[in-house]
C-alpha cells in the first residue's frame, strides 16, 4: 500500500515463536523530592513487579483508574522511562539493547490528547514525517510520498499535509497521531486512551479505523484505557491494574463473563450503562485509591475491599492461574477456588 522506501528498516524477523512483547518483573519508582535541599523523601510506586506477555496480533487491554500505573507501563515499554527494575523484551530481545532506530520501527505510541500531542507550529505533514527524518530513512521526496500515502490510509486528504494542527478537528488530529505512529511500519502500537478526549460521535470512527489498520498492517495493540466497554470491543485479552500491580488478567470473554477480583467486579459495576432500563442502585466500592507513595501492606486493594480479611492486610497475594489463562491476585479467590497454581510464569 505504501510506496517502497529505500534504506528501510531491516526486514522483520519471520514470525518467530514466542511472544512479541514480554514484560518481566518491571518496577518503576519515581522519586519524590522535598525539603530545602530537594532531597529524595520518598518514592511513588508507579509500577511494582509487573509481568505479562503480548502475543503477535492480539490486543491486550490495560485498564485501571488514574494513577494505577498503566501509562507508566506503556512508557517503560517504549523506553521513554527506564525501568527501576526488570526488563522488557521485544521479539526476544531486550529493548535496552536496541538502537533508537530499531526501537522506532518496532513500537510507536498514540496519545490521548490530540490537541497537546501535536506541535502547533509544525505542519501535520512534517509531524508525520519527523520520525523518518530523525532516523534518516529515505530521501526527502520518498519521505514526502510516504507521508501523503499514510495520510490517505488514515482518512485524511493528502493535500492537507501543509496545514497546521489548529485547522483540524479533534478526530482528524487523532488520525494525524495515528499516521505518525504508522509511518515507520511498527509492529506494536501503544494506544494510550486514544478516544477518551474525542467527541462521542467521533470515537466510533477512530475505533473502526484502529481495527481496519490492524487488519491491513498486521498490528498488535497495547490498548490503555479506563473505559471497559471500549476495551471489550477492541481487545482480545485484558489486564486490570490497581496501584501499580496486576489484579487480574484474562481473555476478554472470560473476564467479562466471570470477573474474579473484587476490584474488577467493582469497576464493572461502576460503569454507567446508557440504558435507563438498567438503572440500579449498585453496591459501590467505598473510598478512594490510597496514595502510591505509601501503598498499603499486603493486598493493595484491602483498604477498599468488601472481602478483606486479616491475611489480606499481611500477605501480598500472588498472581495465580486458575485455568483458561485466567490470572488473579486475591486471597479470597484463592480460598474459594483453591485450585490455582502459583507459578513462576506470567500471563
Amino acid at each position: 500500500m505504501l510506496p517502497a522506501v529505500s534504506r528501510q528498516a531491516p526486514p522483520r524477523r519471520g514470525a518467530a515463536n514466542g511472544p512479541l512483547l514480554t514484560v518481566r518483573h518491571v518496577t518503576k519508582h519515581f522519586p519524590v523530592r522535598g525539603g530545602v535541599l530537594l532531597r529524595t523523601i520518598g518514592h511513588i510506586h508507579a509500577v511494582d513487579d509487573v509481568s505479562f506477555e503480548v502475543e503477535r496480533g492480539e490486543n491486550l487491554g490495560l485498564v485501571g483508574e488514574s494513577g494505577c500505573g498503566k501509562t507508566t507501563i506503556g512508557r517503560v515499554i517504549l523506553r521513554i522511562y527506564p525501568p527501576t527494575a526488570g526488563a522488557v523484551f521485544f521479539d526476544g530481545r531486550d529493548i535496552a539493547s536496541l538502537s533508537r532506530r530499531e526501537l522506532a520501527t518496532k513500537m510507536q505510541i498514540i496519545f490521548q490528547d490530540p490537541y497537546g500531542s501535536l506541535n502547533p507550529r509544525v505542519t501535520v505533514g512534517s509531524s508525520i514525517g519527523e520520525s523518518m527524518e530523525i532516523n534518516k530513512i529515505g530521501t526527502r521526496q520518498e519521505r514526502m510520498d510516504r507521508v501523503r500515502a499514510i495520510m490517505e490510509v488514515v482518512g485524511l486528504y493528502s493535500q492537507y499535509a501543509q496545514r497546521y494542527p489548529h485547522e483540524f478537528s479533534g478526530g482528524q488530529r487523532q488520525r494525524v497521531g495515528l499516521a505518525r505512529a504508522l509511518v515507520l511500519h511498527p509492529e506494536l502500537i501503544v494506544c494510550d486512551e486514544p478516544v477518551s478526549a474525542l467527541d462521542v460521535s467521533i470515537q466510533s470512527q477512530i475505533l473502526n479505523l484502529l481495527k481496519d489498520l490492524q487488519g491491513e498492517f498486521g498490528l498488535t495493540y497495547l490498548f490503555i484505557s479506563h473505559n471497559l466497554a471500549v476495551v471489550k470491543y477492541v481487545c482480545s485479552r485484558v489486564a486490570v491494574m490497581y496501584l501499580g500491580k496486576l489484579a487480574e488478567v484474562a481473555g476478554v470473554d472470560e473476564l467479562f463473563r466471570m470477573p474474579l477480583h473484587p476490584y474488577t467486579q467493582a469497576l464493572m459495576a461502576a460503569i454507567p450503562v446508557p440504558d435507563p432500563r438498567q438503572r440500579r442502585d449498585r453496591d459501590e466500592v467505598q473510598g478512594e485509591p490510597p496514595s502510591s507513595t505509601r501503598p498499603p501492606s499486603g493486598c493493595r486493594f484491602h483498604t477498599r475491599c468488601p472481602l478483606a480479611q486479616d491475611v489480606c492486610r499481611e500477605a501480598e497475594p500472588v498472581l495465580t492461574n486458575y485455568g483458561h489463562d485466567h490470572w488473579v491476585a486475591c486471597h479470597a479467590v484463592d480460598q474459594r477456588l483453591g485450585r490455582g497454581t502459583p507459578s513462576v510464569s506470567s500471563p
Partner: protein, 244 residues
Amino acid sequence: MNPVLTAGDQIGEIVRTHWHYRRRDRVRRAIEMLRNVGIPQPEQRLKAYPHELSGGMRQRLMIGIALACEPQLLLADEPVTAVDVTIQSQILRLIKRLRDRTGMALLLITHDLGVVAEVADDVAMMYAGQIVEQADVHTLFVTPKHPYTKGLLDSIPTLATDRRQRLSVIRGTVPHMLRLPKGCLFEPRCPFAMNVCRDLRPEIQRLDDGRVVRCHLYPEPPSGRAGEPVVRSEPEVRLATGGV
C-alpha cells in the same frame, strides 16, 4: 476553586456573602456541608487546601460549596468527567441523594450518555447550539426519533456490543459555528437527509407521544421532490468514513 482558600473558607465565603453569616456560624455550616457531601473527619478537613484533597474529595467539596445556601437549582457541568469510574458512581449517588433530600432541581450537563441514563428524568439532546430532541429519559433512550440521537446511541460501544461488527458511525464532524449549514444543522451528517433538509431549517415540534423533536421526518416526511434523499458527492463521504 481558589487554591489559597481552605475547604472551610470556600464554603464560608458563600454563606457570608449570601446569608451574612458570622464567623462561628460559617464554621458550623462548613462542617455540616462537608459531612453532607461525605468528606470524612470534617473538623480536620476544614483547614485543608484544595491541593491537599484527592480528585473525588475536591468534587465533593465543590458540591458542598454549591449547596451551602440551599439552592433550588443545581447546575452541574460535567461533574464526573474528570474523576475515575469508581469515584464517579460515588459522586453520582451523592448528587442523586442530595437532590432527593433537598428537593432541588438538577440541570446536568454532560456528554456521557451513561451518566444521563443513570441520573436524569428528562433529557434534552443538543447539536450545534440547538435542542434537537427532548423527552423523558425512557422515551429518548428506548425510541429515539432524531437521527442524531439515534446515531449517537448506536455508535457508543457498550458491554453488549459484538466485537466482530463494525461500530456504526455518524460520519463527518460537528459543523464550524461560523460556517453553519443553511438548512438543518445536522443535514451534512444525516443518513436520512432529504432535499428539504438542505433548504429549510426545521422548527421544533411536539409529537403525539409528548416528545419534542427538530426534524423534517416528523410527523411525516414531505412528499415529492422535497422528500427525496439528498445525493452526496463522493469525496465528502470518503473522508468522513475514514476512507477505509
